[in-house]
């Protein structure tokens, strides 16, 4: 198993009810796989999962990207800075 940190921002934090999670995931899990796992655990994510963005170790990550060991993963809605 691979132990990862998951950071959540803005609306996603409200939906999950936490700023961060520590999770054990199977080696080889992709961003898409982790997203599906989270949506099962936190059903309120269902309605925003198509617009959710992900980062691995502080870089944007595509759905199919495999999560490396001990990664810092972040999920967030479309950005609105400026």
């Amino acid at each position: 198993m691979n132990r990862v940190t998951i950071l959540l921002f803005a609306t996603l934090r409200d939906y999950v009810g936490a700023r961060s999670l520590e999770l054990e995931i199977p080696v080889g899990t992709t961003i898409q796989g982790l997203t599906e796992t989270l949506v099962k655990t936190y059903p309120r994510l269902e309605k925003v999962k198509d617009s959710m963005m992900a980062a691995i170790n502080r870089s944007y990550a595509a759905d199919e990207q495999v999560i490396p060991e001990n990664a810092e993963i972040a999920f967030f809605p479309p950005v609105s800075g400026g």
């Binding site: 803005a10 980062a55 502080r58 870089s59 944007y60 967030f76 950005v79 800075g81 400026g82």
Partner: protein, 154 residues
């Protein structure tokens, strides 16, 4: 690309000091600066009128600063005459009429792309920097979501 050219990127809770920041990117050879600043609107006219009491800005700070640096690099790649670049995003609770961001760039002369580069910089900030704002007003609070969905490679 010269490596001793000043690039200042920051996510900060401190007020923006334009005069100070501009001085940081003014070299002995600098003759022109183009800048963009955004502010909190207290009143927004957009299909009706909306009042804003304050905005609460939040950032994924280490990633946001890395992305700001990436944007500065993109600006230098596109406008080779740029000298200094500042991109500073303020976060925390920000009230109407408060500057929230400064994008500034300098060059020897004004016909070097400084205006286009500053505009490109703020456009990219709004597209890819992981910062979010929650709007708080008389009718409650809600997160503002950006409209940009990243394409692969961004």
């Amino acid at each position: 690309m010269e490596t001793n050219l000043p690039t200042i990127v920051s996510i900060t809770a401190d007020p923006l000091d334009l005069d100070f920041l501009l001085a940081q990117i003014t070299l002995p050879t600098t003759g022109a600066a183009a800048m963009f600043s955004g502010m909190v609107r207290g009143v927004t006219h957009h299909s009706g009128t909306r009042q804003t009491t304050y905005l609460e800005y939040e950032a994924y700070q280490p990633m946001a600063e890395a992305v700001l640096r990436q944007i500065a690099d993109e600006m230098r790649q596109r406008w080779a005459d740029l000298q200094g670049i500042v991109i500073v995003q303020r976060v925390g609770r920000l009230y109407p009429q408060t500057p929230t961001i400064l994008v500034a760039c300098t060059a020897a002369h004004r016909h070097t792309g400084v205006f286009e580069a500053a505009r490109y910089g703020i456009d990219r900030v709004k597209e890819i920097v992981p910062v979010w704002k929650k709007e708080v007003g008389p009718e409650g609070e809600f997160w503002i979501e950006g409209e940009h969905h990243l394409k692969s490679g961004e």
